[in-house]
Structures are given as structure tokens and as C-alpha cells.
């Protein structure tokens, strides 16, 4: 799939400005492998973004989430206009004031019928909203790597997934990212696999052999990273690993992480708030660490979740599957167009219930966030 076709999905007006901005100040021929880094954090389950940043002046929201509305209205911190942060999440305001965090409100896609985890995740990962998955099995980032739109000198697989979850955004038709799970013991399998690779060199062109070879290269390249223990097997620990990789100038341009547990059909505040707190504290530590080493300007973090939730609470103090949501972009050198997106809160009625209507299409974020454009 050609690059032009990808751009066709988003808004072409934006695309041309992006290319010129990325090319300013860096010569493509000398693009080193440690230039820009993107960290993609997927929140699995459908995080309720409006719990953290709510449209307090909106009547529908106030009437359908009375206790949350009261909490935020009394002591929340204003973001802009009608929006206010939840009082427990001062850290979001701190990061926003420093210019490290930009929030993209009301992001979504044009499918209000299915409200399914799997379909929503398919859309986000393949970068398309078509019914027929036979057309787009590959991920948006994988296609870019296939077409050499992302350039990382000397590395055919510039994407590293630090998880065991089944993400697809890095899988192109030709290329596939590498996986590294930093908390499982790998130890000395290295020599065993070397023997295997030597014995089976007649299989050099098969998929399986290439996967094993790539995995061997990853464990070779990352052998100086200290593995984290099982108790640190959470997003903070993984972000530490990523920070260490960036400091060591590992040849990867994109890192993929996942945090699970956001499908809050039941007792939402008890489950959501600690998880989100953990996430944003981890991101703050990550940003501070890289900023102290002077690397934060090259890094961007995209935090997204597959869909939002219903405006109204259900009887179990939770919410059910909904439509639009917020996405978060972090970085040391963020452009001002993130602030210019439409942040008005609009609702739509479906089967007698209110859902949020999205203003921004999710593919616009991908357009703007691709690192190392060749």
C-alpha cells in the first residue's frame, strides 16, 4: 500500500504541513538511528477519559453522572473552557502546564453500531474503518515500515513491542516488529539458539527461521538492559525499560506497551482511578528522567484506548461500552496544532441512550505522530 493511499484516509491539508515540519532541521541522508522515538501505549478495555477530564458545564453530563459531576465541579482544576480535571489528577494539570502533555478530546471513529472491543481495536491497529478485514490485515505502522516511510538506518525492524499482548499495528505485509518481554528469564538460551540456527541454515528463507533470528538479535542487542522482576511487571516498570533503551541509543524507533484492566463495567472509580494514577505517574517519571538527560525533545508518547464509555452510569456504579474518548500525546517538543483541535462536547442518541459524538478522526493522530519521516 502506497504512502499516498494512507494519507488519503486523513486530511490531506494537514499532511503537507507535517512533512515540511519534519524535514526542517534534519537532513534525511544523515538520519541516525537514534533520532526520533515514538512510544505507543495502548490502554486495553476502554478507559473512561471523561472521568479524568470532564465537561462540567454540560447539562447532559451533569444529569447522567451526578456524583462525578459534583466532585469535579467543586474542586476540579480548569483545563480550558468547559473542561475540568478531576481533583485527584493534579498531575495531568502539572504536565499540561509544562507543555509536556496535550490532550486530544473527543477522538473516535465512524462506527457507532458495534461497540465491540475487538472491532475497535482492529480499527485502531489497522488504521482503517472498513467492514472487510480481508483488505486491511496489516497494521498502520507496519505498512509505513514496508514502504520505508520510517527510516532507521541499518535496522529493518525498527519497532519493538515490550509485551506479550497481541498488538497488530506493527505487522506489515513484509515486515514485522520484534517482541521483547523484559520480565521473563532468558538467560543462556542464547547459545542453544545459536546451535539451532547453525544446524538449520537450510531453512533460512522461511518465516519461522527469520523470526527466531530476529528474536536472537533482539536479545543480543538488549542484553545490557536489566530485566525487571515479576512484581514490577506493570506499566511503570516497562516505561523504565523503555527509558533505559532510549538512553542506550538502541536502534528502535517505536516502542509498544499495553496496560490492561480498563473495562470498568462495575465500580468504576475504585478500579479506574488507581490504574490511571499509576499510568500518569509513570509517564511523569519517564518524562522527567529523559528531560534530565536532554533526550525528551526527541521523544513522543501516544496514549490511546479503543473506545469510550457510556455517559450514564449503570446500576453497578460502572459504565458500558461507548463511542468517543480522549487520547493523550506527550513529548518534549510538541507542536501547537494539538491545542487547536475542536474540543466541543456533543452527544448523539442511539437506542434511547446518549453517547459522545467524536470530533476528531483517530487517523489524524497517526498522520501527525509518525517519527523519522524519510
Amino acid at each position: 500500500m502506497k504512502r499516498k493511499e494512507f494519507i488519503k484516509f486523513g486530511t490531506t491539508a494537514v499532511a503537507s504541513t507535517i512533512i515540511s515540519q519534519h524535514l526542517v532541521g534534519c537532513e534525511t541522508s544523515n538520519l541516525s538511528h537514534s533520532d526520533e522515538v515514538l512510544v505507543v501505549v495502548k490502554l486495553q478495555g476502554g478507559m473512561d477519559g471523561y472521568h479524568l477530564l470532564a465537561p462540567v458545564k454540560n447539562d447532559i453530563f451533569a444529569s447522567q453522572r451526578p456524583s462525578l459531576h459534583q466532585e469535579i465541579n467543586n474542586s476540579g482544576i480548569i483545563w480550558k473552557g468547559d473542561w475540568a480535571f478531576h481533583p485527584k489528577f493534579k498531575i495531568l494539570n502539572e504536565m499540561y502546564q509544562k507543555g509536556w502533555l496535550k490532550i486530544i478530546p473527543n477522538i473516535g471513529f465512524n462506527d457507532y453500531k458495534r461497540l465491540s472491543h475487538f472491532k475497535a481495536m482492529d480499527y485502531w491497529e489497522t488504521g482503517s474503518v472498513v467492514n472487510d478485514h480481508r483488505i486491511y490485515q496489516s497494521g498502520w505502522l507496519g505498512r509505513l515500515v514496508d514502504n520505508k516511510t520510517i527510516f532507521v538506518r541499518g535496522n529493518e525492524s525498527p519497532v519493538l513491542i515490550m509485551d506479550r499482548s497481541e498488538t497488530r499495528f506493527h505487522k506489515g505485509d513484509i515486515s514485522e516488529g520484534l517482541t521483547y518481554t523484559p520480565f521473563t528469564p532468558t538467560g543462556n538460551f542464547h547459545s542453544i539458539i545459536e546451535d539451532w540456527l547453525n544446524e538449520n541454515s537450510h531453512l533460512m528463507n522461511t518465516d519461522l527461521y527469520k523470526k527466531v533470528e530476529n528474536q536472537q538479535k533482539v536479545s543480543e542487542s538488549l542484553k545490557n538492559i536489566k530485566p525487571i522482576s515479576v512484581s514490577q511487571k506493570n506499566i511503570k516498570g516497562k516505561l523504565d525499560q523503555v527509558a533505559e533503551c532510549i538512553e542506550q541509543e538502541q536502534p528502535f524507533a517505536v516502542y509498544g506497551l499495553t496496560q490492561e484492566g480498563y473495562d470498568t463495567h462495575h465500580k468504576q472509580s475504585i478500579r479506574l482511578e488507581p490504574l490511571a494514577m499509576h499510568l500518569f505517574e509513570g509517564l511523569n517519571t519517564f518524562a522527567t528522567r529523559l528531560s534530565n538527560k536532554g533526550l525528551w525533545n526527541r521523544v513522543k508518547v501516544l496514549v490511546y484506548t479503543e473506545f469510550g464509555r457510556t455517559i450514564a452510569e449503570n446500576r453497578n456504579l460502572g459504565t458500558d461500552h461507548g463511542t468517543a474518548n480522549h487520547a493523550y500525546v506527550l513529548g518534549g517538543n510538541l507542536e501547537s496544532y494539538w491545542d487547536e483541535l475542536d474540543s466541543s462536547f456533543n452527544t448523539i442518541k442511539l437506542a434511547g441512550r446518549d453517547y459522545v459524538k467524536h470530533n476528531t478522526d483517530f487517523r489524524e493522530v497517526y498522520e501527525k505522530i509518525i517519527p523519522n519521516r524519510a
Partner: protein, 454 residues
């Protein structure tokens, strides 16, 4: 006589592979040669299932406290050992299939998981309706899908939605209105179990945790699901969903993807779903009998090209080589390294299918673990005074690799193995079912890419 290729195919798919001891036994070796005899032996549902349920296989754990501390891992180990020891593990294989088809993650400690396993095992030969009801009413599912709190004033949509999307008709075959109507049918389900989140004393827990219905919370009105109207409770709603043609197709598809091929042909799936639809009910043992007696099951396109799930790989390794282990913790740790922590699917969508098992560290482990296991016992000297179950200490490198903390014994007697193969006039490639005579020794066979496929 030569090993019949079709027999090997049947044993690999509807079982975990042939056992090494069969080669030296006259009654069992005809299983490998006579196809009709084998089909009868597998499908004798009454004898096979009842017999297997009563067999307690021998298990030894190196530390009794380990069992108390990790009850789920203990259960995992016991189940895997049954798969290895039983002559005809068809019931265990069906339970594994249901684990893949109806994935329910366990976030409950304790005996609630026994209920789920009983539901899978006891209903292996009964209808899908019955199985689905038992699984969904167990405390594991009720908690996992938040259904134990649903009230008629504001019903919970999680379980009905996943039921429609994953377990019955499939996406695009229902509307949001169906989800809402179905969530009204599933109101009022309650369970007696402290692990469902309610404060409850730990004693006096009646096993097996019956589900009961709270009359005050149940919605008794008329509902319309998939075009049918009636005063449906949860039982009747499940019957309506299962009788839909799309459900038959989806179950036939999962059956084909688990037992037959990663990429089954649509016409064969449709043949199976027409068969079940004409009978009006979905019965797995019936489907198995139908598949075994068909012609297309033995086509070349369906042989040796289905990726083994980690459980199949691990159990097959033990059955093929006659490996014995004294301490059971090995099974739990190995399965975790291979990527299939049984009873803990990664999300409600369940386990990966096919080539998606070859990811990252799991792939490396699949290739390296046979070498690690078999090479340990090679290096130790064996004198005639030692017994077969001799305790062997890990070398420190391998100990840290496999994450074990206890002494264990894995015994593989290469001379015995080769003697058995030679005396039965089989070659290594014929025994392991590979098409290639390229491999000269056992380790090469077991860490070959062909051994990853069934």
C-alpha cells in the same frame, strides 16, 4: 507393518499423539496400523469417557506447601499429567477445545475453578446449550463478565454482549437492541461464593457453588431477541441464541480451527454446520464421529500443517519420547514459558490461533526447551544401580532459565527409546510424523520446525 499415516493424523488431532509404550505392546500397536479399529476405539463414548473420569493418575509434587500456595498451578499440573498418562485422552482434548472456544479467565482463587473444569469435562459429550449454561452460571464466569450484580432497573451489558459476539452468533449478526433485550434476560443471577465480591464468611461454602435467582431483581417482561419474542429467562434466551444458524456455523468453524486446520475450507465448515443444524443441537462427540468418517479429513491439505498449541506441544513431547517427570511443577512452569497459562487467557477474546503462537519469546522457548530437557539427562552418568526416578539437580544456568526452584527429575533413556524404535522396525521420521528424513537424531527432530506442526 508400516505406521498408517491416517492413523497418526487421527491420533494427533483427536488426541495428543501416540505413546511410546504402544510400539512394544501388541494390542496397542494395531491402533497405529488399522484405521477402522482406531476410529471405533476413540469414539466409544461411553466406555472411553467413563473410564477416563475414574482414573487417578499418579502425581508427585516435590513440596506439599507448593500445592497449597498455588492451587491453580496444581490443577494445571494434574490436568497435564492426565493428558500424558491416559491412553485415550479424548475427553481432555475436548475440555481443552472448550477452553479455547469459551475463554473465561480466572480471577478467583480457590475451588471455584474446579467447578469450571467440571463443567467442561462433564459436558464434553452433551449439547452446547447445556455446556454454555453450566459455564456461564459458574462463579468464575459470573464474576469475569460482571453478571452477578445485574438488576432489572439497570441491567449489565457485559455478559450478554460477549455472549452474542464471541460464544454464539458472532459480530454483525445482532444489533445493539438485541444486547439490551438480552441483558434484561440475564438479570437476577446470583451466586453463593465469597469470591464473587460479596462479603461472606469463608466457612460453610456449599460446593459446587450453585447459582440461584434473586426474584426481586429479575426482569420478567417480554423480550425480543433475534426476532423471537417471549418471556425469556436466561435459560430460554441461551436456547434461542444457540438455535440460530450463525451459532452452528461459528462453532463448526472453531471446531475446524482447533481440530483440523488453521485455514479450513468454507465448504467443509458449512457441511458440518448443516449437519448440526439438521439435527437441531450441537454435540461435540457427534461432530467428531462425523469428521472421522468423512473423506475430506484425510486430504493432504489438512495434514501436518496445523500449529500445535503449547499444551499439545508439551504433552506430545512427553508421549512421543516416553519422558517421565517425578515432580509436577515442571508442567506449570513450562506452559507459562511457552505462552499458554491455562485458565488465564489474555483477554475475553481468548487464546491465539495458528501461527500467532509463534511470537517472540514463546517461539524461542518452544525450540529450546526440548534441547534443555533432554540434554540434562544425557550428561549425567547412569549406573546400573540407579533407579529410573533418580533425582537430578539442575545446573545453575538451566535453573535460572526455566525458573524452577526445586529439585526435579526428568528421565529420558535414549537407549531404551532407540531400542524400541528399532525393534518395531520404525524410523525416527515415521515415528515423529515428519515427512523429512533429514534429521539424524532425536534432538534435531524435536527442535525442528516441522515438530511445531501437527
Amino acid at each position: 507393518m508400516k505406521i498408517n499415516d491416517d492413523c497418526l493424523h487421527i491420533l494427533n488431532r483427536f488426541g495428543f499423539g501416540p505413546k511410546l509404550s504402544w510400539l512394544s505392546s501388541k494390542e496397542k500397536s494395531c491402533l497405529l496400523e488399522d484405521k477402522d479399529f482406531l476410529i471405533n476405539w476413540i469414539t466409544q463414548s461411553n466406555e472411553g469417557f467413563v473410564e477416563s473420569r475414574n482414573i487417578e493418575v499418579e502425581q508427585r509434587f516435590s513440596d506439599k506447601k507448593w500445592q497449597e500456595r498455588w492451587p491453580l498451578a496444581t490443577m494445571r499440573c494434574k490436568w497435564v499429567q492426565r493428558m500424558i498418562e491416559l491412553e485415550n485422552p479424548i475427553e481432555e482434548k475436548i475440555a481443552l477445545f472448550w477452553n479455547h472456544a469459551i475463554p473465561v479467565s480466572v480471577n478467583i482463587w480457590g475451588f471455584a475453578q474446579d467447578v469450571l473444569m467440571d463443567a467442561f469435562r462433564n459436558n464434553a459429550s452433551s449439547d452446547y446449550n447445556q455446556l454454555l449454561k453450566e459455564v456461564l452460571y459458574s462463579p468464575c464466569s459470573l464474576k469475569f463478565l460482571n453478571a452477578y450484580h445485574s438488576h432489572k432497573n439497570a441491567p449489565n451489558q457485559n455478559m450478554p454482549r460477549e455472549l452474542l459476539e464471541l460464544f454464539t452468533v458472532g459480530i454483525d449478526n445482532y444489533t445493539q437492541k438485541d444486547v439490551i433485550e438480552l441483558s434484561r434476560c440475564f438479570t437476577g443471577l446470583r451466586t453463593i461464593s465469597p469470591y464473587a465480591g460479596e462479603p461472606f464468611p469463608f466457612e460453610n461454602i456449599p460446593y459446587p457453588y450453585k447459582m440461584y435467582i434473586d426474584d426481586g431483581a429479575q426482569d420478567r417482561g417480554e423480550k425480543t431477541i433475534l426476532g423471537k419474542t417471549g418471556r425469556f429467562g436466561s435459560d430460554e434466551a441461551i436456547d434461542v441464541l444457540v438455535s440460530d444458524l450463525n451459532t452452528h456455523f461459528n462453532i463448526a468453524k472453531k471446531f475446524m480451527m482447533f481440530f483440523v486446520s488453521d485455514n479450513p475450507l468454507r465448504k467443509h465448515i458449512q457441511e458440518l454446520s448443516q449437519h448440526t443444524y439438521s439435527k437441531g443441537k450441537i454435540n461435540i462427540s457427534d461432530l467428531i464421529a462425523h469428521t472421522l468418517r468423512s473423506n475430506w479429513f484425510y486430504d493432504d491439505q489438512y495434514k501436518r500443517n496445523k500449529v500445535k498449541t503449547p499444551v499439545e506441544f508439551w504433552v506430545g513431547l512427553f508421549r512421543h519420547t516416553g519422558l517421565k517427570t517425578e515432580t509436577m511443577e515442571l508442567h506449570s512452569n513450562a506452559l507459562r514459558m511457552l505462552g499458554q497459562n491455562v485458565f488465564f487467557p489474555e483477554n475475553v477474546g481468548g487464546w491465539p490461533w495458528g501461527k500467532n503462537w509463534f511470537r517472540g519469546i514463546n517461539l524461542v522457548n518452544r525450540i529450546a526447551i526440548p534441547r534443555v530437557l533432554l540434554s540434562i539427562s544425557h550428561d549425567e552418568e547412569q549406573s546400573s544401580e540407579m533407579s529410573l526416578f533418580e533425582k537430578v539437580k539442575y545446573r545453575t544456568t538451566h535453573r535460572s532459565l526455566l525458573g524452577f526452584r526445586y529439585e526435579y527429575a526428568v528421565v529420558f533413556n535414549e537407549d531404551d527409546f532407540l531400542n524400541i524404535i528399532r525393534s518395531s522396525n520404525k524410523t525416527l521420521s515415521q515415528w515423529f510424523g515428519t515427512s523429512n528424513n533429514h534429521y539424524n537424531n532425536i534432538l534435531q527432530h524435536l527442535s525442528s520446525t516441522e515438530y511445531q506442526y501437527n
